[in-house]
Subunit: 284 residues, 6 copies
């Protein structure tokens, strides 16, 4: 049970952060454990609604890993991964679209609505938001796509009309072929196109650590220019490489700050954005 | 090869109809064969885009029968129908949402965008558009729902922003439970809530016929007050009953005209709305 | 009696053309036989209303040759032409203003209104739309003027308010002296000032023909850069020279396409703008 | 040469009147000597521009008597008057439209524009502003019309866009037949439809006088309810009867004050509206 | 040092309260110790800025007791109180205006601006916001006034333009005489005129207590209908009577809730509005 | 008693001046005798209201010399002047703020409101309008400030909302310290920031005169480039130097004309702005 003094302190300390973000666009890439656990999902949506109420133009971009795998299994379609990316044949891309845009996306919309927020679920096909092109890789990945172009109109319309836009990351090329697009890279492109103030990537790690076994070695702030050295030193390695690449890409596209936070911590978004210490690692 | 004179005549004769519908809301319930055949689907979307360009505020409401059945089969979930309605247990409603909102809906969006139109795909969960309640029936149908309330804001926003709203007919109750809602009845409710000028139901029959075996007996215009007599006479029977009920319901909710057209005729919507004769049966 | 299939085809084929012109400005210079015959006049106004309804911002610029001559005759004022232009003394310019702005212009307004369209009749004096200067010529032509400057505000206001602006081509210089301005050249200046997509000149010929006696020699498309050669070859000669000069001028002022069509063909505007083949000759 | 004190006094005394009329609609019926003399015409237009600049929404309605007679004479068409109204056959109504809407109207527009004001010339045909019907009289008057309905949209649009609307009083019936409408009665109808604060009728008399030979008997203010008695007493007689009828009609349609002023006095409008004494006779 | 969990909890628990007040008007009557202490003043302004940022339309109404007394003393003008109200002669009302509108008001504006908020300082004279009338009392109080009428336009303009309106409670009567108006009653009138959701009165007591010596007897919620009984029981007595009267008056004028809070508790406004327990006594 | 002709002439001659200033910003620096005498104050406010009604965006900037001295005297605080500027210690700046923003400013607001105008009283603290910095001088002047930056938002908001902004010239630095700013220099800065058409300085002299004892030597127009020579010649000297410096400064910041007028002449503003001769000296 907190004292009134403590309560007031927390709310008051949030003030300068709310002032900083009021009216700005913040893109949240939502994924990992924060998406799987019901409790964490509720906490994230609560954070998103709160951000939206204090005047932040928050845009939620999500992937849908486990949901997709589950439906593929039910339909007896084998999952195959190449270099961390799902090989996506014609029937797989169909399932990906259906699950991402129809299940994961709309479940989040319904959850926010039930919690008193206002949300609209969109995918990259709506209003031609994401024009995709085939992802170039050494090995063919099928219908895995990159973002060629973002039309921010449907996102800005939703924000203007007072809705939280929730975005499933599929897109189509000029000929109408649908592609499965990695949610991290799509979020970075969308944040860049929106001229976002912040992009927040929810992950399953504390942030970038000098020694992954020791949380005390967390690096709170990284200059984009330091990244090559950190890669050479092996501090950025393995699954961290593409995550960091997204942060760097977003900053290059004009986003002021890209933050990697631990989605396993309840209300990690609020703690990162509205308190003095921040949590996780910030790239700028 | 048509003469210039004929071409000019067709365009010119469309003028008074365009004048009549300019700025008005027209709800098209899209289903049946017009949804299954690629050619017919293209013709319908072309009609929809044309209506939108000539200033009609067109709203497309769709079902997704065959798509749902196909995915249920792939997942080994048996389909069971009670009195023409699909028994919808928890796993079925999950598939219904996923297929309607993620596949059928977004495929239509992508098709319109590729043809040069501008569309946004929504379902009844977006912005809390459709509040549903459990459908009351003699036999329990599971998560089959009725429309309790329509919030037209998301639809009107899409129209105002220059998009064709495409709507998948699922909805949630106050507790967040999702329901599968019959597209015909949802379309009637939506048309009523929007104060639509017209609702156009695409079916697989020519319209209401005194003798179903003889197209020459097509009844072009029916007063809503004549319907009970037509039911008694057996002219309205079988699968026609719920279709006619939707038309009657829409008219009761203030829609000026409810038209049942044959979706198997290419460009049936244009022919109905923009020519002297009309096709199908109109209720008013 | 056309089949439904043919009707649908004509409407559907118009779609890409409507998409191309939606929201764009198209200036129609109206004159010649299309202005004299009641039937043709009705057909032109019907086309104009249809264009307006499908979202084209159509501006009608007209001359008034026969009307002016008739009133001059009634008042016993002789008509004298110098190099194809009417010598315009003080009492003639008075009649020109009165007939163009008071009779021809308002008759067209009334006709469109009666056919269900919405029109406002303006002349170059309204809101200071056309600032004129004396036309420089070898022989003095009196109060024949050129367009020195166009203020598009009154035209844009009419379009914004949903009216078809109908424009009589007289103008005044800084001192208030009124001038009679050739409608073709005024239309080209107005189209340029509006940044029009198209200017359509209604004439009494099929278009530019290599052999004027053989309609099969119609030249459908001409690059502006080809015009000098066509003049040297004698293909452009006589009454065609000023018409082509207007088209060239309009294109030079930034209008995308200038089209010369045969006003004797009913609905020539629609046929030119909304069908695959076009009719007449297009300069770009 | 006025002292600074006197100048300041005049301007300052205008203040409460400007406050009263700011943002209100005032209809000025312009006619008589004020229209014939160049000096008076300039003074009236200067008053109109000044009113417009100080925030009055001024609407100018004009007749065109002498202009019409002059053109009819030039064309050898005899003028015939029945009970003060011009018998108007088909060729006469044609001349009336042409002269009123093409000459008188546009000359006024040009004059205001040259004096630095902004004006748009409209007639009752534009945007369907005046729907007319045949004037019922004992003796047939041909195409003399009454105002059946006023659509104020074109007038309000001109005011909103910052133009002074100048209106020629012809109108058409549903079938498109044009009618010549008395400017006084048209002005009263327009003022009523606009909910005008004031209607100012410019005449060639000082106002209503108990003894027409003695200006000292001018009646400055008349209650509408006193009019019948004044008619019985013979104070209102002859040409005054229809003028007073217009004032009464305007007041009945909700106009706050109807004022009859002497157009032969330069700047009579300003003197009436912006000074303590007023000139002429006010009905309310 | 609070745990992340505790911080997140405080912020999250504020969510439903923020949702409730978003877009609503809340009037804060600011006075007493919270106005005298620098620390408390900073805490109040911080709360006001925070409320404003989370979308509450907050209006600050203040008195200025000690400031006024200090300046009166400096000028050697004796203060005299009659029944708790300051006797206000001509020179006193001059000082009151000067201090309230020029010192207390503008100091608060400057403080909010320095803390990153946006504020505009107004008094009841600005835009004719408060029309006052002489306060009727047994003994003459001089220029002590009551609120006769509130014109909310200047307040609504400030809110619309994104400023926090800060209001000094003086007003003038029709003749321009300025009056000193009690801030509590002015706040109640303003809250009523604005249709406020809440009025918050900052006092120097915990709230309404059954036994003033025992804070445990605080009455958290009072129905307006219970007030007469509480007065009879002596629970509401002394200085509480006028405070409660203001709360009752505000509720009678349509304000949903009137809350009396203890301004000596730092951040009392936030604690009252954004936490589960509330502090102080709420009338509704 | 003026003749109608004279009255009409005065009003009519004002027309071109009203046309010139309509919609433009004019800053009036109000001070000196015009502020002390009740009659002159009324005349100035009447002029301001009239300018506002004829569409001029008038901004009133005022000092408050005698009011400040009077209150300082009442509080026994000695006034000390250094080089024409008041030495301003901490208690003096407090009195300056209180008197300027609370008494002089709000008295003017109340006067305009009582005369039927609409005014809002602001000081440089409101909305952070004036950021001040310490005035650099040979001798320390205490809290005498210069204008470092003007945020015109609160002024433009007041104009947009139809109010006359009345501005007291105090401002604060980043740390919140309040400064007393000379009204002439503040007015010049505000006029520059607003891109004003005119700045009008009310003084107690006729204008710039070659011989101060002979009003016939008034210089009506001065080019800014002529000023240095006029200083060398001694024509500009003594108290005129800072006044002229303000005019020059305003013109350098882009104001078209800076006019020095004699505030002792009733309605000097109207006479200067709305008549042919002007009064006073104009710099451009």
């Amino acid at each position: 049970m907190l004292s009134n003094e403590s309560k007031a302190q927390v709310l008051t300390r949030a003030l300068p952060y709310i002032q900083r973000y009021a009216g700005r666009v913040v893109v949240v890439k939502y994924g990992g454990n924060a998406m799987v656990s019901d409790d964490l999902r509720g906490a994230v949506m609560s954070d998103i609604i709160l951000l939206s109420l204090v005047g932040v133009k928050v845009v939620l971009v999500h992937g849908g890993g486990p949901d997709i795998t589950a439906v593929l299994q039910k339909q007896g379609i084998p999952s195959r991964f190449v270099g961390g990316l799902r090989y996506t044949d014609a029937q797989t891309v169909d399932v990906v679209q259906m699950v991402l845009a129809g299940k994961t996306n709309k479940d989040l919309v319904a959850l926010i609505q039930r919690m008193g927020g206002r949300a609209i679920g969109l995918c990259g096909l709506d209003g031609g938001m994401i024009t995709a092109c085939k992802h170039a890789a050494d090995e063919d990945l099928g219908f895995v796509g990159d973002v060629a172009r973002v039309d921010t109109t449907p996102i800005l319309n939703a924000l203007k009309d007072g809705y939280i836009p929730i975005i499933a990351t599929i897109g189509a090329d000029e000929g109408g072929q649908v592609y499965n697009i990695n949610a991290d890279t799509a979020a970075a492109s969308i944040a860049g196109a929106l001229g976002a103030e912040n992009i927040v990537l929810m992950t399953d790690v504390r942030g970038l650590m000098r020694d992954v076994r020791d949380q005390a070695t967390l690096i709170p702030v990284v200059q984009v220019s330091e990244v090559p050295a950190l890669i050479r030193q092996g501090v950025i390695s393995g699954g961290m490489v593409p995550k960091v690449a997204c942060c760097v890409e977003a900053v290059r596209r004009g986003v002021h700050r890209a933050v990697m936070i631990d989605g396993r911590i309840p209300h990690a978004i609020l703690l990162e954005m509205f308190s003095d210490e921040g949590i996780g690692t910030m790239f700028h």
